[in-house]
């Protein structure tokens, strides 16, 4: 028994050493992360070019300004530099929003028309921001295509298709939704807006609108359920007034619709 005790002690000691070693982020230490960042930058540019070739962009000053007034407070409140992110609006009737490598978020004119208020857009942006900040984009790209394919730079259109019709795992989506609640709360925006967005998607789910954002995500009802739970566990303090009045939002929607109709 004494020998067995010593044996177990040795095994326990080894396990403990392993556990301690595991706490260190070796990957970061080895600058592997830096390599991935460079890859991410390269991919971001590649996919951006792909998008530019297939979609028209709405990038006039007034649209940019409105989007910025909604996006910036979210970033600022969460200690994320505005410069780090690029927010783009493309002409597409699909109701969609997606994150691209290298901290780029793309909205469609379709989703601007679909969402009823600026706060709803904040909620969607918070979700996409979470995908970026949690590195979901690169993680799922690597698992789907493999590091080698991505490094070789081939298959840009497949990668773009994958990202626009982005289907992250359910686990990552839930993580992004829950993180979005935190982002919104910090920015003094009612996280319930995220639930309202789910309700809105649920309402139109059977209609003839192209709700890409709903079809690439878990069912709105399911998301609503875990979001409710997360919000119940979150201390929501004061809610600031919307960054954009309802009137301003509707004006922006009209503006986007008008731009959408124009041919480049």
């Amino acid at each position: 028994m004494k020998t067995l005790g010593k044996f177990l002690f040795v095994l326990a000691a080894i396990a403990a050493v392993y556990f301690i070693l595991f706490q260190v982020n070796w990957e970061k230490l080895f600058k592997l992360e830096e390599k991935q960042e460079r890859l991410e930058e390269k991919l971001g540019k590649l996919i951006n070019d792909e998008l530019k070739a297939s979609y028209g962009f709405i990038d006039d000053d007034s649209s940019k300004q409105v989007l910025d007034s909604i996006f910036s407070p979210l970033l600022e409140a969460n200690g994320i530099a505005r410069k780090k992110y690029k927010l783009m609006l493309i002409k597409d009737s699909e109701v969609n929003a997606f994150a691209l490598p290298n901290n780029q978020i793309v909205l469609t004119s379709g989703i601007i028309n679909f969402l009823d208020s600026a706060d709803y857009l904040s909620a969607v942006l918070a979700h996409e921001l979470a995908h970026c900040e949690k590195k979901h984009v690169m993680k799922s790209l690597i698992t789907n295509f493999g590091l080698d394919v991505l490094l070789s730079g081939s298959g840009a259109s497949e990668v773009t298709n994958f990202l626009t019709g982005q289907a992250f795992s359910r686990k990552l989506e839930q993580e992004a939704d829950e993180q979005a609640v935190d982002y919104l709360t910090k920015a003094d925006i009612d996280p319930k807006n995220l639930i309202h967005v789910m309700e809105l998607f649920d309402l139109y789910l059977t209609g003839d609108l192209d709700l890409t954002w709903a079809s690439t995500h878990p069912a709105p009802k399911d998301r609503k359920a875990y979001l409710q739970q997360k919000i119940n566990n979150t201390a929501v303090e004061d809610i600031a007034k919307p960054s954009l009045s309802q009137e301003q939002w509707e004006k922006f929607q009209e503006h986007v619709e008008k731009q959408d109709g124009e041919v480049d």
Binding site: T3, Y18, L21, V24, E27, I142, L147
Partner: protein, 156 residues
């Protein structure tokens, strides 16, 4: 405390010059095998087994130390083998290590194995030096295992 009776007590004065050399050599052998066998761990285990078999008919002191060296080799063999094959997978399927988690589990394990091998190397050198002087060195855990495997033969 029944094991206590089985523990072999060697006093330096009773150990001949030849015995000291053989016992000490068993550690040098295992050290050498460890370095040679680092790429493919089965080699160091084999080398120590062969050395042990060669000294099977030797005196209790020599036999005991060959056995202690052998058992510690066997122990370390399992860790090194896992490290070896894990590294092979890493070289052939690098994409499996894309996530922070899998890279970290691999890298932490490699460090752990290096750490264990480091302890093994230091204690082997120390023991080789001591046994050369005829001083009996008992390792934690492995000495007891050695007693249990050889004990009853030696106390006879």
């Amino acid at each position: 405390m029944e094991h206590q009776e089985r523990i072999i007590a060697f006093s330096p004065r009773e150990i001949t010059e030849d015995e000291r050399e053989y016992a000490s050599n068993s550690y040098l052998m295992s050290l050498f095998a460890l370095f040679v066998g680092l790429p493919l761990p089965i080699f160091n285990l084999m080398a120590t087994v062969i050395f042990y078999l060669g000294k099977r008919k030797s005196t209790p002191f020599v036999k005991w130390h060959c056995m202690q060296a052998l058992i510690s080799q066997l122990f370390i063999f399992f860790f090194n083998t896992v490290a070896f094959w894990w590294t092979i997978t890493y070289l052939f399927f690098p994409e499996r290590f894309a996530s922070d988690y899998s890279f970290n589990s691999y890298f932490s394990y490699i460090l752990l194995v290096l750490f264990i091998n480091g302890i093994e190397i230091v204690s082997t050198i120390y023991t080789a030096v001591q046994t050369r002087k005829g001083i009996h060195v008992r390792w934690f855990l492995f000495a007891e295992l050695t007693d249990q495997i050889l004990g009853h033969e030696n106390t006879r």
